[in-house]
Symmetry: C2
């Protein structure tokens, strides 16, 4: 819940009572959720102020209820809440889920698109997924917790400077095997190097790389193997 | 993974070796995933056949990498895979995640839209959410494991039969306080009762309810309190 910005947790007759030391220890410092927990004697009391309640269930119920996917459910709830009304999601007990008379009190059923041949979600996973879907649906869900984005790509003249530097060096090194092949080889190189959207810093670095290799070529080195033409 | 139809799990030097009894016990019979696990000595080998690799990370890296949300990442991967190419998601170690040189080998970073003020996802939760998002994005994700849908609403003449039955009984019971109020009261009742889109069975049941109450009224009962007009 806390991972995805939810905090209104209501418990109905929790098996192990409340507060519960084990639950608190497992909550990874989600104190703002734990401090607000409300405990109710009945489901009716727990949802009394809500005007939209969905029951999460993992198996089919022979009931005249709409069955929604998480996205559809979240969208409807978001609209409902945006209208100033209260909506809630009902989760059942770990092993046997919600009783039919609890499901009957809901407006619709929500179920997750699990693989029918293999479905094994526990309540923590179901809560996590519904919380995630809620956040995804609500406005905040578009915002990632961090996103440097990329630095601005360098102005095009710097990229052209890199190209001309590189091509000049390649002209000298005999990279372009015949003059008529040069234009297409240059185009291929420029296409590949443009795709990366280099920053100014990266272009400086790449030009340093070229210069370094180029100077090495000019420097006599007795151990150096005979230079072969670079692959196209 | 298995909940959402994924099965290609690749491990790089797992801390506790493989096969691992504890992992198998925790896998809730996901044998088809466990049997296909491949173990690699290096990340490079593990992803060697893939042409798109995203690294999941929970914190910002000072790297020139795109940062994607799960939906965007899943969509791109789905397109990539639909084109017959391999894509993979990289998850790090439980406590300290992926090393920077591992992230560096990825095409982009994927992160979940967690609450910045409170983020505490473990690797199992991250895998669950990414698997869910994958399934949601891919075609199968539209299919819920069950969905009775609602039975067909009854033909309108049965609904009208219910209305006329009810209104006839109410005429007799004095529900409609004055004749000029009757049309609007009938309209309000019909509007409310139409909204539920009753099935034929439900209409039979409701008519049974009306008849039952109606017959009770006709049956003399000395203990019965003086009848008051129903509220509008």
């Amino acid at each position: 819940m806390a991972n995805f910005g939810l905090w209104d947790l209501r418990l109905v007759r929790p098996r192990d009572g409340w507060p519960n030391e084990k639950a608190i220890a497992a909550a990874s410092r989600a104190d703002h959720v734990l401090e607000r927990v409300r405990v109710f004697e009945t489901l009716e009391e727990a949802i009394s102020d809500l005007t939209l309640v969905y029951a999460t269930t993992a198996r089919s119920r022979d009931m005249q209820k709409d069955v929604l996917g998480p996205e559809e459910a979240s969208n409807t709830m978001a609209g409902h809440i945006a209208g100033g009304r209260g909506a809630g999601l009902l989760f059942g007990r770990e092993r046997w889920g919600l009783l039919n008379d609890e499901v009957a009190m809901s407006d619709a059923i929500v179920t997750l698109p699990v693989e029918p041949a293999f479905a094994s979600l526990n309540i923590a996973q179901a809560v996590l997924l519904m919380s995630y879907e809620w956040r995804r649906t609500s406005a905040e869900g578009r915002a990632l917790p961090f996103s440097e984005g990329l630095d601005e790509a360098a102005p095009r003249n710097e990229l052209v400077g890199l190209f001309e530097h590189l091509e000049g060096v390649l002209d000298q090194s005999g990279f372009f095997t015949t003059p008529d092949k040069r234009p297409s080889m240059v185009n291929n190189l420029r296409t590949a190097l443009t795709r990366g959207r280099f920053t100014s810093q990266e272009i400086r670095t790449l030009r340093g790389v070229i210069s370094s290799i180029d100077r090495r070529h000019l420097r006599p080195n007795p151990n150096r193997a005979k230079k072969t033409d670079a692959d196209e």
